[in-house]
């Protein structure tokens, strides 16, 4: 298994600390019932994953993770929490839905994945002992071989932005209709 380009030494210690923080915070996202606490646990998870990316030599992905997820998605989630939920409402901090059955399903699936797939597989070593400079290579890949998927993703992002604006726009006419119908 040891092939000489695994993460060793002080980087392995840093990896261990980052992974432990990430895993504990991931449990927090799953079990914390206060939605704001869960959002901040998700923030810790996303920062930890960025650290794991950096330790895997993917510096560009780590920076993108911090820019897009930590700076964008978590802020969006916190906005949604503040716009929708009332903190003192007991309905918002609600009881979990069938926690025992969910825990059983999740535990059995993780046991299956961890022992059946990950541990039992003999990962074959490849001869690639150097880490390529990632940002330049990813940029060349995006402007070369993956140009079409790159453009498709940009069109998709444009469609998502327009769709989000259309959906979230305050449509006073249909609201009034629904309010009258309910009355």
């Amino acid at each position: 298994m040891t092939s000489g380009y695994e993460i060793t030494g002080i980087a392995a210690a840093a990896w261990l600390a980052t992974a432990l923080v990430t895993m504990v915070a991931a449990v927090g996202v799953a079990v914390l019932r206060n939605i704001v606490h869960a959002a901040f646990a998700l923030l810790v998870v996303l920062l930890g994953v960025a650290g794991l990316y950096a330790l895997a030599g993917a510096d560009l992905i780590a920076v993108l993770q911090i820019l897009l997820y930590v700076g964008g998605v978590v802020v969006l989630l916190l906005f949604a929490v503040m716009l929708t939920s009332r903190m003192g409402d007991p309905e918002v901090a609600s009881q979990p839905l069938a926690p025992l059955r969910a825990a059983l399903a999740v535990t059995s699936l993780s046991a299956l994945l961890a022992y059946g797939l990950i541990v039992s597989t003999r990962w074959r070593d490849v001869d690639a002992p150097h880490i390529v400079g990632t940002t330049a290579d990813v940029g060349e890949a995006f402007l070369g071989r993956y140009l079409l998927p790159f453009e498709v993703i940009s069109v998709l992002l444009l469609a998502a932005v327009v769709g989000a604006v259309v959906i979230a726009r305050r449509d006073s006419r249909s609201e009034r209709e629904i309010g009258e119908r309910r009355r």
Binding site: W15, Y53, L77, A103, A105, I131
Partner: protein, 111 residues
């Protein structure tokens, strides 16, 4: 501590990355299964997407296809951002219609 690795694990390879990824996947699945709040459910989906992207990056680090794995991770991140924007807009619209963000109560079609 031995100079070659972390105190308990030894050198960090693909197995350790995949264990973290499975852990995040399971936490996200538990969150999706048990949440009544639609925003909390979205947080579970983000955890699952991050687990997938972490898989791509770890296989890019320890396997042969380096650039391909990182390109896929960037696609996953972009899709996750787009999904979060649209889904949160839907949550806001749902809240405006029903004054609730409970996902298990949003069962009506065409109001």
């Amino acid at each position: 501590m031995s100079p070659s690795g972390a105190p308990f694990l030894g050198p960090i390879g693909i197995t350790e990355y995949l264990v973290v990824s499975v852990w995040m996947l399971e936490c996200g699945l538990y969150c999706v299964f048990t949440s009544r709040n639609a925003v909390a459910l979205l947080m579970g989906v983000e955890l699952i997407l991050n687990a997938a992207a972490l898989n791509f990056v770890s296989f890019a680090r320890f396997g042969v296809g380096r650039v391909e794995g990182q390109v896929s991770a960037i696609f996953v991140i972009a899709l996750g951002a787009a999904e979060a924007a649209v889904a949160l807009a839907i949550v806001l619209a749902l809240f405006r219609l029903t004054a609730s963000v409970r996902a298990d109560e949003a069962s009506r079609l065409r109001g």
